[in-house]
């Protein structure tokens, strides 16, 4: 296929699924060894970077994020900036200022969020990898809803230089792909120490030894309140794992129920300070009434261009850091993070991984999403939040399809820095699981 044909096809795919904010419309792909896309909160010199927010519309960074530069150095060509919930604030990619990506298996359903565009791109473009960013589940959720693999490495494994932060102590850059071998190939490329991100400088080397898992633990708390179609597929997957020679044992992890509120407190606290920089100066939208005092000027931009969920999270995060409330919320949430990490470490003493369904239901229809309250929407993340709060690596593996053909995923969590067993698990699982690729009819 010629470059023009490839790009024409890409344009038609994007018209249908709306997975990119900005993408390669013309020009040459040259001698690129592979094509990749990235979530639109990763800065790139050749495309606009808006992080799903109108307040950043028109922002053209002058540099590539470290992970993008590394993939380019490996011979990759960046072809698109993937749509996402504004600054990562969402579970369904419906909170973007630039349209909503559509699920490849059913256009009336969500791709998941917040890396929804990335999951969609990985699902519908042949031999594609897409970088996502996970703060509370933003890789595994969309991977589950779109039927792709998705790996979130340990916190600090991949440099965050060039990432527009949501929550600095939570954000992790990872990979979504239909072929798990692509993740094994490219995670070591984007991983590694980077002096531009001090949190990346403590990591041990990522060694791929193809160490297989021997035992997994399923927390009883994680299979309560799960939709029947998801639970059926999950239970079938447990049988398949047993037939692969992996021990499956149920355990109690009562601490997991505290992860969700702790996560939302830390995430919104950090987000509310990170977003203080967006005031109509330097980046994106800058056309305002300069006769206003600075308070009114800043307020006018933030009021006009931040979306509903961004405002809600800024208010929540500002509140939980306020004097008088800080100890009850923020300080307690920091302690709970350690409680959850300890709970995982205890299980990892006897098991290679903790295994749960990834999401409690298959991708919902947009009509159903529009009726959800904020709390209902937050609760949908209850399985993906714990490893994100703990900074432990985790993986979505497609594990089944319901009667409507919608994908279902399961989530493996391993100890800090143990991405090796996750990548190996994905490859081993892929040998016996018949993954379905969405039919892309243009």
């Amino acid at each position: 296929m010629s470059d023009a044909d490839t790009l024409s096809k890409l344009s038609r795919i994007n018209d249908k699924y709306q997975m990119f904010n900005d993408f390669c419309r013309d020009g040459e792909l040259g001698d690129a060894k592979f094509l990749f896309s990235v979530k639109d909160n990763l800065t790139s010199a050749e495309y606009e970077t808006c992080a799903g927010s109108r307040i950043l519309e028109g922002y053209r960074p002058v540099f590539d994020a470290t992970c993008i530069a590394k993939l380019k150095a490996e011979g990759g060509k960046l072809i698109g900036k993937a749509n996402m919930d504004e600054f990562g604030f969402g579970t369904f990619s419906t909170n973007s200022g630039f349209g909503i990506p559509r699920n490849p298996f059913d256009l009336s359903r969500s791709c998941g969020g917040s890396s929804g565009g990335s999951a969609c791109a990985a699902a519908v473009i042949d031999d594609h990898i897409s970088l996502g960013v996970s703060t509370g589940g933003s890789i595994c959720c969309p991977a589950s809803f779109c039927g792709t693999y998705g790996i979130v490495p340990s916190y600090g494994r991949v440099s965050r230089y060039g990432l527009i932060d949501y929550g600095n102590s939570l954000d992790k850059i990872g990979i979504l792909a239909m072929d798990p071998k692509q993740m094994t190939k490219y995670l070591p490329v984007i991983a590694g120490k980077d002096k531009e991100d001090p949190t990346s400088c403590v990591q041990p080397e990522l060694k791929i030894t193809h160490k297989k898992m021997k035992s997994v633990a399923v927390p009883r708390e994680a299979v309560e309140g799960i939709a029947k179609d998801v639970l059926d597929a999950f239970n079938k997957a447990l049988e398949d794992l047993r037939s692969m020679g992996i021990d499956v044992e149920y355990v109690d992890m009562p601490e997991l129920k505290y992860a969700m509120p702790a996560y939302y407190i830390l995430a919104t606290s950090e987000a509310s300070t990170n977003l203080a920089r967006y005031v109509g100066m330097r980046y994106g939208q800058q056309e305002g009434d300069l006769t206003l005092g600075f308070d009114d000027y800043f307020t006018s931009f933030r009021t006009q261009y931040f979306g509903d969920e961004a405002k809600r999270r800024i208010l929540l995060g500002t509140y939980t850091r306020m004097e008088g409330f800080r100890d009850r919320y923020y300080a307690k949430a920091l302690q709970v993070r350690m409680v959850v990490i300890d709970a995982y470490k205890k299980v990892f003493a006897d098991h290679d991984a903790v295994l749960t369904p990834t999401m409690p239901f298959v991708s919902p229809k947009f009509d159903d999403i529009s009726r959800m309250t904020p709390v209902e929407s937050y609760k949908a993340d209850f399985l993906t939040v714990p490893p994100n709060l703990a900074g432990t690596p985790h993986l979505n593996c497609p594990c089944g399809y319901n009667a409507d053909g919608m994908p279902i995923g399961m989530q493996f969590v391993t100890d800090h820095w143990n991405e090796d067993q996750l990548l190996t698990m994905a490859e081993e699982w892929d040998k016996q699981f018949e993954i379905r690729k969405a039919e892309v009819s243009l």
């Binding site: 400088c201 509120p261 800058q286 006018s300 933030r302 405002k311 800024i314 949430a333």
Partner: protein, 90 residues
């Protein structure tokens, strides 16, 4: 959730709310904080949970370097005589 507190938080956050938005966010934040109340029964911990993994001391000497061309950095910013343009302070 007290409306006055939400209004104060919004002002500190540089976000203007209409009456309808104030009512809506009051309810939303009230519901969310009710849900967060489960934290009160969570065990305490002595550790420092600022980061999920231990972060080593990576302090370094301050060495000036010019990483980006200043003209390039100012390319898309609204400027006045090469200064970033902003609202009046007084």
């Amino acid at each position: 959730m007290d409306k006055e507190i939400v209004a104060r938080v919004a002002k500190a956050s540089h976000i203007r709310l209409t009456e309808e938005e104030l009512d809506r966010y009051c309810k939303d934040l009230g519901d969310i904080l009710d849900y967060f109340a489960i934290l009160d029964e969570a065990p305490n911990h002595d550790g420092n949970g600022i980061n999920p993994v231990e972060i080593a001391d990576v302090l370094r000497d301050d060495v000036p370097e010019e990483k980006f061309d200043s003209e390039e950095l100012l390319r898309d910013m609204k400027t006045y005589e090469n200064y970033i343009r902003g609202p009046k302070l007084v």
